[in-house]
Structures are given as C-alpha cells and as structure tokens.
C-alpha cells in the first residue's frame, strides 16, 4: 500500500517535471531561454524542487540497498525519529542564514542530512554486530566500504569548509564544516566499535576488556564532541547570533560526556575495590552446590569474586556490571559505601545466622574457610592493622586508629532515606538482609588527651609526622560519623512512637552528640548500642549485638517487627 503510494508520487513528480520542461521548451523553443523561464516561474521551481527531492530519496534508497540491504524495523524507527529532529534543527539554522538563502544552500543542507542518515544507519548496523550470532562477509564488506566512503566525504567537506572560511571569511560554511567535523567523530567512533566487535567475534573466549575500551572510547569521544560544540557556539556567537539549532545536540553531548566521566570514575573505583579488597572464591567452594553466575547464567569454574554481602559472581561479569552500577546485582548492596568483606573471625557466626533469612540466598560455599585476609592495604599506611575495615568510598578517611576495637569500626554507612515515617513500608528487602550494619562507632580517645610527644610527632614533616596527622584527621572524621549515626538513631527512635523508650534514648542520643567532643564518651556509645535495635536500619544483624544490654521486651517487639516485615516480603514476592 505504502509502496504503491511511493511509486505513484515518484511517477507524478516525473510527469510534472516533464510538463514543466515541455511547457518551457514549447514557449521558448531554445535551451537557455527555457532555463531562464523555469527559474523565473515560482510554480515551475516548486516542481523542480519536488523532483530533486524525489531523486534524492531514490538515490538514498539505492545507496541503502547497496550498503545495508533490508533495514530492520528498529533501524527504520531510529532513522525516522532522528530525521525529524535533524530537519527541525535545519529549519532553525535556515533562520540564522536567511540572507544567503539560495538553491545551492538548500542543496548543501540536504546533502548534510542525507549523509547524516547514513551515519546513523552505520551506527545502528555496527551495534547490531553484538546481537547477531553470525556475521557474513558481505556484512563486513559493506560496513568497511561505507565507513571509508563516509570518512572520506566528511574529510573532504571539512577541508572545503575550512578553505572557504579562510579565503572568504565566515559564512554558512562554518556550520557545514562543524557538522562534518561532528560526523567525522561519529565515523571514527563507529570504526573503533567495528574493530572491537570484530576482534570480539573472532575470539574463542570472553573478552572482558572490550567493555573497558568501549567505556573509555565513550569518554574520549564525548570530550571531543563537547569541545567541538563549545568551539562552534563561541564562533557562531562572534560572527552571527546564538545558534539555537545546535543547543539540543550540544546538551546531549554534554550530558553523555558527564555520564561517561562519572561512569569511568565510579567503575574504576568499584573495580579497584573488587581487585584489591574482595576475596577470590576458591575452587572447592565453587564446585560445591549450585554455582550459576546470576549475571551470565553460566557455571562458575574459575575467576570468581565474593562481594561483602557474600554473593559470588564471575570476575569478568562483575567487572562489566560495575561499569554501569556499583551495586551487588543480587542484593543491590552499594559496594562503594560498604566496608570490605574481611569480617573478623568473631563476626562469622553472625553472618551465618543471617543467611537463612535471606529470601534469594546465593549458593555459597562453607563459611569456615571463607575468610581470606585482603592482599591489599593502602600503601601509604604501612602499619595498618589487618582487622580494620577500609571504607571503599573515601579510602582512608574512615579508618579507625589502631587502638580502635575492631567491632566498632566505622562503616561510612549511607544516611538512610530521610523520610523515616515511610520506612516500615518501603524498607529495602535485600540490602537489609545481606548487609550487616555494625553499631555506631565508638568515638576514639579524646583529642585533648594527646600527649606532648604525639603533638611533636605531628609537627614533623617526615612520613611519621604526616601519618600522625592523618590519624588525627581520621579520628575527627570518626567523631563526626559517630555523631551523625547517633542523630539518625535519635530521629528514627523518635519516629517509632515508642515514647517511653524514647525518653531515655533521646536523652542519651542528644547528650552523645555533645559528648563526642569530651572525654568519657564511652557511656554515650554504649547507650547508642542499646538503641540500635530501634534504629532506622533494623537489620537483623544488629540484634545479636544488642542482646545482652537490651531488655527482653524490646527484643520481642523487635522479633514482631521483623516477622511482620518478613511476611510483607513474602507477600511481595508472590
């Protein structure tokens, strides 16, 4: 039906052209006068324009047949969608250059659009390589030919625009030169992707570095585009006016660049954590039980890592996931805000108690030999004791001093969502069970107790002096963390509507925030331990700790709350 309409439109335009030309020739009898006649008559020119457009579309179809064959449905949708924006922006560009408006000008813009559409199609086609089980030689030939042709054309037009601008001064050629420069980066981007995909297709084993290359390429390309756009806008403002038509693509270029940058930073951090802090899973554990990696749904035989939440995955799968999100795929524990997994031995039994409560427990090996000390300590703190928990998010900042009791190490835990009243109903099911949240940290020994010797040490410029200063700063951060944690507990306690219990706790919590600056903060920290069962994160893991000091009634209430929640999760799961 649509095809029929296309054919009839084409035939109609050809017929009209013949009529127009025939009429002109009939009236003027000679070639040159008839050309003049046609260009002077508006209706004739309209017909000629339509004819040219039809020819361009026909040419486009021919080229498409040569380079792409049949378009897939998604490719066609993309094409239509992007053309729509491109045409709108072109019309906006016309308004800036309305003085130079001429048939040549229209033709040049049409050419840009025409070539652009082939860039988009090439992009989609190369992305498709990742999705297709078999790629034919014809495919490779077509893509390579297309990339070479597009690259050469872009180069030619950039050079032409540059020449014209240098010799004749700023003109609409600026816009063309810029458009083709952007297209050139696109061609380059596609070519790199094509090479990466081709290498990947010809490899026998999974190529984990490909995603890394893609990520960095995204960053570099994003940067080049942003630079180009800023440069273009500055030049346009200098010579003409604000180029509104470039704003939408510029905004997207900037957004993509920002996203690529954040992705690179966060994923680097997560991957560094993975490589240095998280233990490898030893082969006996892997052969044990069900050992399917949840990311790729394939068996884990080698190279697997255990996250702090005890979930295990292929190292390579985890790496590609961390390039997008820095969370555990199973329980969504944010690994950048969680201490590394080296639980000290006394904490192991607690982990085991938690596990049955976890609805989607990952297959895990025996816990007894799971504890592997981290191979890595931050190099610039050589005397770091093995049992502190380095915080992933801000490296050393949260590490407690060596004199700290290990169980009270700070967690750098994420402040819970501010809306505590909703918390009971929207509590996160998984992080909740998987993540042991230690009690708020005990403030370190008071700063006013620093001995003369320690002070002298801090003033030294040597390595020791720097270390001493850093330790002092860490202690201060620890104090801040402690007071934040206590404030949170205070707020949540106030919201749980257990007024009687709250009266004493709020007293403790509010004094504790002032206490942190004074010696003898020990009392405050114990009372905050007591209040932890009622805190914003009533993680089951915090219960056993609170056991000895909290009253039996609060324990049973705690149980009730927990049961109710478990029921909710069950309902949600159904």
């Amino acid at each position: 039906m649509i095809k029929m309409r296309h054919i009839s439109v084409t035939l109609l335009s050809v017929f009209l052209t013949f009529v127009v030309i025939g009429n002109a020739y009939y009236q003027k009898q000679q070639f040159y006068p008839s050309v003049v006649y046609i260009t002077k008559s508006n209706p004739s020119m309209a017909v000629i324009y339509i004819q040219a457009l039809v020819l361009v579309i026909l040419l486009g179809k021919l080229m498409r047949k040569i380079f792409f064959g049949q378009l897939r449905a998604t490719e066609f949708e993309h094409l239509v969608e992007r053309s729509w924006y491109a045409i709108t922006e072109t019309c906006l560009a016309f308004t800036v250059f309305k003085d130079d408006f001429s048939p040549k000008f229209v033709a040049l813009f049409t050419l840009v659009l025409f070539l652009k559409s082939f860039h988009w199609l090439a992009e989609d086609r190369v992305d498709f390589m990742e999705r297709s089980p078999n790629i034919s030689y014809l495919f490779h030939f077509r893509v390579l030919l297309l990339l070479v042709v597009l690259g050469l054309l872009d180069l030619h037009f950039v050079a032409a625009a540059y020449q014209s601008t240098v010799t004749k001064g700023a003109s609409v050629q600026l816009v063309f030169g810029f458009e083709y420069a952007i297209l050139l980066t696109v061609v380059f981007n596609i070519a790199v992707k094509y090479v990466l995909h081709t290498v990947d297709l010809n490899r026998e084993i999974f190529w984990e570095n490909k995603a890394v290359f893609l990520l960095y390429m995204e960053l570099v390309m994003g940067f080049i585009k942003v630079v180009l756009y800023v440069f273009f806008v500055v030049i346009m403002i200098r010579f003409y006016t604000l180029p509104l038509f470039a704003f939408r693509p510029m905004y997207y270029a900037m957004r993509n660049f920002k996203k690529a940058l954040i992705d690179v930073i966060l994923s680097r951090r997560a991957i560094r954590n993975m490589n240095t802090l998280y233990p490898d899973v030893n082969p006996e554990e892997l052969t044990d039980a069900d050992n399917v990696c949840i990311i790729c749904r394939e068996e884990m035989q080698t190279a697997s890592k255990r996250l702090p939440c005890n979930h295990i995955f292929h190292t390579s799968c985890l790496r590609s996931w961390f390039q997008r999100h820095q969370t555990c795929p199973t329980c969504r524990l944010n690994i950048l805000r969680t201490p590394a997994p080296q639980q000290t031995q006394p904490m192991q039994p607690r982990m085991n108690q938690n596990r049955p409560a976890e609805p989607r427990a990952q297959p895990m090996g025996p816990q007894d030999n799971a504890f592997i000390p981290p191979p890595f300590a931050f190099p610039w703190i050589p005397q770091q004791p093995p049992n502190v928990q380095p915080n992933a998010a801000d490296a050393a900042a949260n590490q407690p001093g060596a004199q700290q009791e290990p169980a009270a190490a700070p967690t750098g835990e994420q402040p819970p969502p501010t809306d505590f009243s909703n918390f009971q109903f929207f509590c996160p099911p998984f992080p909740f069970f998987g993540m042991p949240i230690p009690p708020p940290p005990t403030p370190p020994s008071d700063l006013s107790n620093i001995s003369e010797e320690e002070l002298r040490k801090m003033e030294q410029a040597s390595k020791e002096g720097i270390e001493a200063r850093l330790r002092c700063l860490r202690n201060i951060q620890l104090l801040l963390d402690a007071s934040v944690a206590m404030m949170q507990q205070y707020v949540s306690a106030a919201n749980t509507a257990e007024l009687a219990a709250n009266a004493s706790q709020s007293g403790a919590a509010s004094t504790s925030s002032s206490n942190v600056r004074q010696p003898g903060a020990e009392g405050a920290s114990t009372s905050s331990k007591e209040s932890s069962p009622l805190s914003a994160e009533p993680s089951p893991s915090s219960q056993p700790q609170a056991g000895p000091s909290s009253s039996s009634s609060s324990l049973s209430e705690q149980e009730d709350i927990r049961k109710r929640r478990l029921q909710k999760f069950d309902q949600a799961a159904k």
Binding site: R72, A73, T74, D127, E130, R131, S132, P133, N134, D200, L201, N202, R203, E204, I205, F206, W207, I294, I295, C296, R297, E298, C317, S320, W321, Q323, R324, H325, T327, P329, T330, R332, N334, R360, Q414, P416, P417, F426, C427, P428, P429, F430, P431
Partner: protein, 167 residues
Amino acid sequence: MSGSALRRLMAEYKQLTLNPPEGIIAGPINEENFFEWEALITGPDGTCFEGGVFPAKLVFPSDYPLSPPKMQFTCEMFHPNIYTDGKVCISILHAAGDDPMGYESSAERWSPVQSVEKILLSVVSMLAEPNDESGANVDAAKMWRENREEFNKIAQRIVRKTLGIPT
C-alpha cells in the same frame, strides 16, 4: 565468539521453552536476531483481562542483562501502567541507576537477577493489579479508581478483540 548477551538470551530462551510458565509464551521473532522477542500473555484468571491473549514485543539492548529490555504490547491496551502506544511502564523494566540515593525505590528495578520470565510474570501481575499511582495512562488510572465498571467493560472489549471475536 558471540557476546555474553547473546549466550544469556539463548539460555533464557531454552529455559522458557523447556519450562514455560503458565499462560506465557515467548521467544525470538526470528532465530537470526535474538534481541527482538515476541511474547503472548494470557490475561490472568479472575480479572477483567481474563481470557485475553495479548501479543507484545520485547527489544533487548546489546548489553543485556546489564541493561533492561523494553516491552511494548502490539495490540490495543487500556491499562494504568501501559502507555497508549503499548509501552509497558513497570519498575522491573527501569534501570537502577536513576536515583543514586537510597535503595528503596531501586529494590524492584532491573538488575541481572531479573529475567524475561520474571518480567513477563510481573506484567501478568500488573494486569491483575494495576498500580494507579503510575501515570503511564492517566485516563485508564482515573477510570480504574473511579469507574471500575466502565474500565472492566473496556477491558472486556479489548479481550474480545484480541481473540478476534466481533464486539
């Protein structure tokens, strides 16, 4: 070697064929392209969509399962969580990264733990229990809240339409 996305999709397809969940059929539209699937979803019993067979299309990104697929019904639909063009709007189809703060909203969002089967099951339960907070189709949400009878009538008409029964 073909990408991990492809191998995982093939694994999921195999799993769905060997062990199909009740009332759901899904698979690639053609075996040359594993990244576009079609699915047939039977309206859950005891709801206004009971008895209907709803065709839908799933399009997977090349980095699946790291990013979620997109799902769109290819028949007429009238439902609070389905756009008028058929696109499905439920949390399992949204990537988790949108709000870096707090896990609570991301708990049900996409992660590699999810699968085609889980998506389709979520869609079935969405058909049974619309979430009228989500504004994918405001008219449908309003009618679901305020005029359930009328909503049921429209749903029944759509059901008959998918079965090819004249209304």
